[in-house]
Symmetry: C2
Subunit: 293 residues, 2 copies
């Protein structure tokens, strides 16, 4: 039973679709009302939103690991903010958290279409994903397990995931992706209303996912500066398979670097925010996750 | 006769194609060598480039008006930088400037393809444009005359223009647009080599341009906050005609706002950097500019 759900936007202040959807719902709260649970929505990083920047001191969406949340000595803007948000929405790991489910709204400069990024393996999280996939055939699911501990916003609650839509530049509102994200949220609310009411949904018994395998960085020189770009034949080809030997990067002196690993699917290709994190794309395997019916 | 040309990149620190092209040419200066003139290339706003931001205090590409350049009291980072750059490349309005022609490299989040933005009306500037249009049929030319005085980087030199390519997000390198910008620069160098040598080029006697008419802001509330997005039917339709009565914006409560002016062409639709400047797109008339042959 989901009693309280949180929709969070502006975790990254330059990802405007979440910022403006939350703003819309604060002005029109009736749109989120359902019969058997409560939904709150909030802006996460108000200072970054105001400055139209990803963050002030560091990435808020990597700030929710238990050690940082418990470390009173951390004084950065986002470390302090993470503790406040954890108190308000969590606390993380609690048996009696303030919200049961978090859906965190993001955009990406990669051509990811309408995507879910999930680390949580709870039954209700995956039943929700199965319902969304059933009703939105264009939806892709990426399971991220690249960190020792899930430190995303949605990890504060027992259940949840992030929505990622793209391609959209930082600092830009694209109406098409705004409308798609909005529709996906209403569908998610519909799911919880049905689920809470014990309504039979005929969910599929499995969901196709892209399972995180590895990160692929840009070629770099000894100073850490990139020496190549994502190859034109790879750009915008998110969720496509990279075959061994196919073009991956193009160096600034016009040489093609090919991919030499086993065939994998590429995601988050050429995302602006990941240059500094040190990766050009994520590589994943396609597999099925079975749903608890 | 063009004796010295400057290629400037990183005027906006988050427009990476110019930043990395200049870096490439600094490492491979032979690529720019031509027989009868000199080409220098430089990064304009090193601090903004390092921080991957458009600017530090304010837009460098609006900082080259004569009054600001002569005002010793201005203390912002970009005001001081503009004076240094003006001394190095200009000075503006001089009979004996350090460079004759500036081509300033930009990117845009709007779907502008390969574009020239020009305010300069000198014969040599327009002969260069005519040559480029003749050899690059996809090239569009936008004449900007929206300010009292041209305060762009290229206004420091007697001749010049900016190249704008898009759509590319801020902070992202797109290889296809990198290669197109690079090829356009080599063609420009070819033109000056031929022009200086008195080579007969069979230039067209006119060039089709989009002539600046007005700026169109987003709908905003009394606090200046936007209340609508660029309409999905308008997004990415740069250089297309907007007919009277056609969809222009979509409000956050799903109402379509139509365009009620005379038919005009829309450019720089939904450019990230222009939200704060207060415009959603530029509107222009199509006309011909005659070339001095």
């Amino acid at each position: 039973m989901i009693k309280k759900l949180a929709i969070t936007g502006g975790t990254h202040g330059n990802e405007l679709i979440g910022v403006y959807l939350v703003k819309k719902w604060k002005e029109q709260p009736d749109l989120l009302i359902r019969s058997n649970f409560e939904t709150l929505c909030l802006h996460m990083n108000n200072k970054a939103i105001k400055e139209v920047r990803r963050y002030v001191d560091h990435d808020l969406n990597r700030a929710f690991n238990t050690e940082s949340l418990n470390d009173a000595s951390l004084e950065t803007y986002e470390a302090k903010l993470a503790k406040e948000l954890n108190k308000f929405l969590g606390p993380k790991g609690s048996d009696n958290p303030n919200v049961d489910f978090i859906v965190d709204l993001h955009t990406t400069t990669a051509n990811m279409g309408l995507s879910i990024v999930v680390s949580n393996m709870s039954d209700i999280t995956w039943r929700a994903i199965a319902y969304l996939c059933q009703h939105e055939p264009a939806l892709h699911v990426y399971r991220w397990q690249g960190d020792e501990e899930d430190a995303f916003v949605d990890s504060i609650a027992p259940h949840g995931f992030a929505i990622e839509v793209g391609a959209v530049p930082q600092g830009v509102l694209r109406a098409d992706l705004f409308l798609q994200t909005e529709a996906l949220i209403y569908r998610l609310l519909d799911f919880f209303e049905k689920e809470n009411a014990g309504y039979s949904m005929n969910l599929p018994n499995s969901v196709e996912i892209y399972d995180h395998e590895m990160l692929m960085d840009y070629p770099r020189d000894q100073n850490g500066e990139i020496t190549a770009m994502v190859h034109p034949q790879r750009q915008d080809k998110d969720y496509a398979l990279i075959e061994t030997g196919s073009p991956l990067f193009l160096t600034f002196d016009d040489k093609t670097i090919t991919y030499e690993g086993e065939p994998l699917y590429a995601l988050f290709i050429n995302e602006a925010a990941y240059y500094e994190k040190g990766f050009a794309m994520c590589l994943a395997k396609k597999r099925a996750i079975f749903i608890a019916l």
